[in-house]
Structures are given as C-alpha cells and as structure tokens.
Amino acid sequence: MVDLNFFKTLLFTFMACFGFCIVLHMHSPRQMIFACMGGVVGWAIYLLIAPWLQETVCYLIASVAVTLYSEAMARIFKEPVTGFLLIGVIPMVPGGPIYYTMEYCINGQTEKFVESFLRTFGIAGALAVGVLFVSSSMNLYRAVHASIQSRRS
C-alpha cells in the first residue's frame, strides 16, 4: 500500500496540480505549493482508505479533507478559498470514468455503460457533497462566531 507506487502517484498529483496552478493563473509561489499540497493530501487520504471502504465513500471523505485543508489555508494566507479548493479537488475529478463510460457506450456494452455512468455520477456527487458539507459548516460557524462577537462588544 504505502510503497514506491504510492509516492510516485503523489508526485504525479503534485505535478498535475502545479500545471493547473499556472493554467488558472495563481502567481504567488508559496501559495502554489500549498495549493498543490491540498491535491496531494486529498489523494493520499483517498489511497490510504481505498482498500477498506466503498469507492464513493472514499471520495466523500477525501473531498471533506481537501475542503477542510483549503479553508484552513485560506485563513492562513488571508486569501479567498476559491483557488485552494479548485486546485485541491483536481485529482478527484472523474476524468477516467467519463472516458470509460463513453468507451462502453460506443462498444455497445450497455450494462457496463450504465454501471460506469452511475459510478461517474457517484464520484462527482460525492465530491460535491463533501465540499457542500464542510463549506456550509464553516459558514455557519463564521456566522455564529460573528454574532457572538458583536453581542460582546
């Protein structure tokens, strides 16, 4: 599990995220490194829990982790969370499943096509729900915190 391949995959994740940092015009080098680390952390968590849990659940947990990480980084850097989050979820985007869904479709393998189609939607959904869950909780926390602060002063 945690072998050479594990670290190789994480290195590739980092490289891919770095590419996206440039394509999405992130400029501060320090921020770029931490944004890429978000992608690496998310994927590392996914790989570590993948043997034990169902795939969609793994994606959900990894996406929760990435969102938490992004919110934390946004606080530390005092920048919008947008950039960190966009880069962080990149490795989890179901590019492979989209392709295989299409391939099963043109091969006429209907059963596999439906299965793969639902899998793709499952992954995208898990990703979305993870982001929704954490971001909403953070917003709620912030609102409650602000109202307590204003009542005190």
């Binding site: 891919a16 996206f20 440039i22 015009h25 919008p80 985007v93 392709y99 479709c105 043109i106 982001v131």
Partner: protein, 258 residues
C-alpha cells in the same frame, strides 16, 4: 466622504469591480457581496445586486430617491485566481478607507493589465498536466511523452477557438476528437502502448472539475439559479468531451486504424 458625492461614478466603479470579479471566475456570492459592501462603505445601505454567470445588475437610489441602474452583460469568462484575489483585497481596502474614485479606477486598470502567464507558459503547463495525469492514471513514460505532445497541441487549438468566440460545446468536441486521433495514431504506429491513458490524461485539461466545484459553492450560498446554469455547463462540457472522443474512436475503427 467627498463634498460633491457622485452616485453615478460610484455605481460605475462598483459595477466594474463586480463585473471583473465575475469575469475572472469568482463565485456569485462573492461578486454580490463585494458590490454591496462597497456601497455600504460609502453610506448607501439599500443597494440591490443581482448576478447570474452571464450578467450583473446593480441598482441604487441617489439622494433625491431617483433609481440608478447599471447592467453589464458577460459573454465569456475565464478563471484567474490571481485577479480574484487582487480584486478581493482591493474591495477590502475600499471598505476600510473609502478612497476617491479616480484612485479606484487606476487600481482597477492596474489589476486588469497586471501580467499573466504568457500563452507559451500556459501551453507548457497544459502539456505538464497531460504528462502527469497520464502517469497518474497508470500509463508508462512513453505514453506520458505522447500525452505531453498532445497537451502541447491541445492548448493552441483551444485558445484559438476561444479567441474567435467559438461555441464552448463545439470547442470541447473538436479538441477532444483531435487528441483522440493523435493518441490512436501514436498507438497505431506503436509509439505508445495505452491510447486510453493518453486520452484521459490529456482530456483532464478539459474535464469540468472547476465547474463542479463552483456549482457547489454557488448552491451553498443559495444561488440556485446560477448553480443550475453552471451545472448544465458542466454537463455539456463532459458530454462534449465524451462525444468528441467517441466520434474519433468510431471513425478510427471504421478506417481500421484502431
């Protein structure tokens, strides 16, 4: 606050900032919130801002109660994290210090003309993404090198089509088809072993990850209309990619290349 308070200029400046944020891929709530905060900073408490991904509407009342409205239509948007951050901090600064409008104008200008990565750097970045994702999805080094070349070709095509305002859906179909043809040709001439890995790796550049994330962030903030629009956009992108690759593979099979 200045003696001759100019509502029209304030409206224009605030709308400009909102429009620029939207254009550079900020979330809807960030756009609306920023504009509203600017008005509050200058003492206008009842402003109304409505934004969808393709349009921004801003209305305030001047001192006589006459309504002033500005609408800006957005046709194409990109994602530029650096500019979002700079507009965000400009907005915070405006709220803190209420500077005069000429200064804000010059600041907006300087952000608009701030240097971005050149096309060549972006092409290399695209190639790097293709290279890394091919390895990530289990291709070998040879596959990754072919993907690097594919990425190198992908970006200029995509950029040119965008420049001439080609339909985004059509754009994705063409790009995806071109990449698939290249990958299959590389496989045919036994340069690379896994054409599927090359295609996936390169197409990761087009896959709507950003759109999916943004959809959720809009829906969290309660912008269901914008969320729906972006969701359809993400679906269309995914569909375009699948359609392009599918058409190309089918064509290659008919020509007996695959």
């Amino acid at each position: 606050m200045a003696e001759s308070f100019d509502y029209t200029t304030l409206l224009n400046v605030a709308t400009e900032i909102g429009f620029d944020l939207l254009q550079n891929g900020a979330e809807i709530y960030r756009v609306e919130d920023s504009v509203r905060r600017i008005f509050v900073a200058y003492g206008i408490l009842n402003s109304d801002v409505f934004t969808i991904p393709s349009c921004i509407l801003v209305t305030i009342n001047d001192e006589q109660g006459r309504p002033l409205t500005r609408i800006r239509r957005l046709t194409a948007s990109t994602t530029n994290i650096m500019r979002i951050e700079r507009y965000n901090s400009l907005c915070r600064q405006i709220c803190r210090t209420q500077p005069d409008f000429a200064w804000i104008r010059s600041e907006i200008d300087s952000i608009d003309h701030s240097p971005c990565y050149s096309l060549l750097v972006q092409i290399f970045a695209t190639a790097l993404i293709s290279f890394s994702f091919t390895l990530f999805y289990g291709g070998n080094l040879l596959d990754a090198l072919v993907a690097f070349v594919c990425g190198f070709i992908l970006k200029p095509i995509f950029y040119t089509m965008q420049k001439y305002n080609s339909n985004g859906f059509f754009n994705n179909i063409i790009c995806s088809a071109v990449i698939t043809v290249l990958a299959v040709l590389a496989y045919h001439f036994s340069i690379a072993g896994h054409y599927d890995k090359i295609i996936i790796g390169t197409l990761m550049n087009l896959v709507p990850g950003i759109a999916i994330t943004n959809v959720m962030r809009d829906i969290i903030a309660g912008d269901l209309l914008s969320g729906t629009i972006k969701f359809i956009e993400a679906l269309l992108v995914a569909l375009g990619i699948a359609l392009g690759a599918g058409l190309a593979i089918t064509a290659m099979r008919l020509l007996a290349i695959l």
